[in-house]
Amino acid sequence: MVHEMEDDHVEDMEVEVLSSMWPEDIDEAGKRFNLEKPGLHEDMLEDLAFVEEPSIVDFKRLVELTSYSEKGSSQLAYLVKNWEYKQENAVRLLREELENLSKQQHEVQLKKLEIFEEHRFEESYVGDKRPVSVLGEGYEIFQDVPKKRNDFVVQDKRVEIDAEYDTVIYWKQKALHLGKLLEESVQREHILLEKLEESIENLEKQSSPVEELSQILKRADNFLHFVLQNAPVVIGHQDNELRYRFIYNHFPSLREEDIIGKTDVEIFKGGGVKESQDFKREVLERGIPGKREITFETELFGAKTFLIYVEPVFSKDGEKIGVNYMGMEITDQVKKREKMAKLREEIAVQKAKEKELNKTIHITEETMRAKQMLATMSHEIRSPLSGVVSMAEILSTTKLDKDQKQLLGVMLSSGDLVLQLINDILDLSKVESGVMKLEATKFRPREVIKHVLQTAAASLKKMLILEGHVADDVPLEIIGDVLRIRQILTNLISNAIKFTHQGKVQINLYVIPDPNSEGKQEPKINTNTDDSSISSKTDLQLNGNEENEPQLHETVVWIRCDVKDTGIGIPETALPNLFKKYMQAGADTARKYGGTGLGLAICKQLVELMGGHLTVSSKEHCGSTFTFILPHKVSHPCDGSDDTDEFGDMAGNESSDDDITCGFFQFQPHTLGSVFSSKDRISVFPEDLYSISSKVTHKEINSMDDDSSCFDTSSEPESSSKCNSENENTNSTAVASCSPSSKEDHVETWEARKDSNRSSECSSSGNREEVARSARKPKILLVEDQMVNVMVARRMMKQLNQDMDVVGNGAEAVRAVQSCTYDLILMDVCMPVMDGLQATRLIRSYETTGNWDEATKAGVDPHDSPSYEPGKRVPIIAMTANAMSESAEECFENGMDSFITKPVTLQKLKQCLEQYVE
């Protein structure tokens, strides 16, 4: 029984295995290769209707390739392997089936054995049965199994029968029973046989490997077609002579016979063909695949760029038998790429430019800052230095012994030099930073020439003749910035004198045709300098000024001025550097003659600023000629009378008709004075005028007639103020004329104005009034909005033993002036309600017109003014926190007399008081 149970168990297990292992579909194996079910695949492909034309194939070669090339064989091997695997799988499944069958058979045999055991007579039957084994002779592995089982199962087993043993009924029953069993067994065997046959039949039905392989190949082929149908690629194979054996091209323009069996060079002509062929050959020779971009320029395609991939093909034994070739057209991409590269390059260039520009801007800004800094510094240095020099000058008028005088002389000349240098630097930086403004005033060129020569003669220490020629066609009055022109002339003259030891120095003035010859009314700006921007700015300013003073009937004359000397001349090599800053003709010259080397640079810049140009010609040891030409507006004499310009007025007052038109002046040593035009002046000037001007004595000045003193005022501010100081006999006033005399005319607008104003005031007020004024305390008005400043200023005034009124803004200042007469007004510039500039304008307007109309217009109601004194002008001193020169100029433009920079110090205040009050 135990056996039976065991047997049952085995059978159970096998049933289980049977159901799970039995494949439903033998084709399942295909799934292992990632190929889709052919059915589905084929359906899909059928819809696509392949155009197989594009590929042109040398089939024979392809077969060769597949069978001989390494790649081909590996592909075949793969397919075979695939097939083998499938077969193996099938075999495995068959085996499993067989096993099952054999097991069943075995059971049947066991049953049979049982029967035979019980009925030994039937044993031979079993033996007959054996050959009917399902497995057949071929499957040796399975043969042993039943045998084993045979050994194992050979045991006595009985079938239980109810009937009594050995009776007839018993046997009958037994036989019947056995017969039934036999029948069942036979039936089962029959079924098994059928099944076996069926499966064998199935096996036979399986397709042959070749058939299957070709099917797979076809599928792969279709697949490739599907993928490549629209791809812009060319795929080809070339043999080791680089003749095409296979080509796939989606856009074939050549027929099969045109390509197959030919090389690239034979098919195409044009650029790139050779290169591609060479590349293929190279790949073939080196045996290493490679990619390359080749641009073809063929008649067939035009210009096209292809990315080519070439790989060598080896035979099974490693011989190179050709190349596989794949090309893709990338013309558009290449174009885009090139465009991109170009753009990138442009961007890079742009960026570099930008950087450079920024750098330049930065440098320019820095330079401007440095220049402004220089201007500010110079300005700051000048004030104290003026103090030092003027003090020294005063000192020189006191009783000194010979040694002291000598020392003082050195001190004065050194001080002068420094001052001159600073003035030069200031001028230069003003011009360069564009803050220099030109004025357009009427002036008489003859007088300018005369005065320049006169001034030069006054300080002449050499035996030289100074001459001036003014041509007849030079207009009597022209319009321009007389101060600057005078500065240029003075500079050139003093230069000429400096380098001339004998002979004469001449100024020639004459009219020339417009060098721009277009007859343009506007002065053309010559942009010789690097700073063309400044020049053009000036142009605007010039025009602006003209607009401010509209003149009818204006014409422009170009006047040429030659300053000629018979001096040492300038070597040709030095000419180019002559107008550069801090340059002199040579190191020797600098040592011998001194000077800052700024003079000519300033002259040039000034001339260019005014729209003209300055040139030089020179011959060594013979002399030099500096020439400048300038455009000038000419006003008609009829409106000359309206001119309010001080200078014009004074000149007009002074000169006789004779004087005005005379065009020749000569100053000779020891005679001094114009021989032809102002004979009377010879007597006026003292014999010893060649010594420094501060030596001019009281008496001598007094002997001058009024005219000449006024005249000098306009021509030589410094000397005039000195004259005045002598006039008033007070040392303190001399301090006021802080500008020392120097060969170079200081034509700083403010100084000139200050001094001329001062002088005019002096000449209007006699000595008696002077005494009366000093008897009472001067009335001072402080206009300042900030309490701190007020407090400080008030305290300072107290120390100076002065009282003052204080108001908080410009409007209040105007009211204060309306109700009281002041001797000095200290005016803050920046104030709420009304600033100092406007207040000054209003006060000045009152002073000239005698009414407060302007103030009323500005919203300040007039009070009862005490009494209007025509010609009286109250000194107004600006107090400004902006030390820049432009702000100073703004002050002067608005009618202020001077300015002190904040913070106000006791010293500054004291100086100011000394200069303007008492």
Binding site: Q786, V788, R795, K798, D828, P832, P903, L906
Partner: protein, 152 residues
């Protein structure tokens, strides 16, 4: 007497350091010179005025810079005043900040202005503390019966 001379030395050193570190410039010396027996508290008065002025101005500036539409002209006017008063008492560092401040004002650079305002405030507080300390020292010297040394 010893205490006084020590205080005096301390005063001199402190004042020197204020000049050296640039908190003060010569204008402050000017102020001190303006002070005499007839006007013994001049410096303190002026400086106090300056403090009041400054605080007002700084407040105005703070408000002005918080506006949606900043009136740079107004800001500039305030800064100008601040610059004027600070330079009047010789508060050099405050003045210097004001100079930069005005530049930013010209450029209408809000960030720069705000930064400068902060700096101005800082510098103002610094100089206020320093000056107060200085006056304190002065007081101490006077209380101890000494005289405040004159700075050159």
């Amino acid at each position: 007497m010893d205490a006084v001379s020590q205080l005096q030395r301390q005063f001199v050193e402190y004042t020197t350091s204020l000049y050296r570190e640039g908190y003060l410039d010569d204008q402050f010396t000017q102020l001190q010179k303006l002070q005499d027996e007839s006007n013994p508290d001049f410096v303190v008065e002026v400086v106090t005025l300056f403090f009041e002025d400054s605080e007002k101005l700084l407040n105005n500036l703070t408000t002005a810079l918080q506006q949606e539409n900043i009136d740079y002209k107004q800001v500039d006017a305030h800064v100008h005043q601040f610059k004027g008063s600070s330079s009047s008492i010789g508060a050099q560092r405050v003045k210097n900040v004001c100079v930069v401040f005005r530049n930013y004002c010209d450029e209408k650079n809000l960030d720069g202005c705000v930064l400068c305002l902060q700096q101005a405030k800082n510098e103002y507080i610094l100089i206020r503390n320093k000056l107060e300390a200085l006056f304190n020292l002065e007081q101490q010297i006077l209380q101890a019966g000494g005289s405040v040394p004159m700075m050159a």
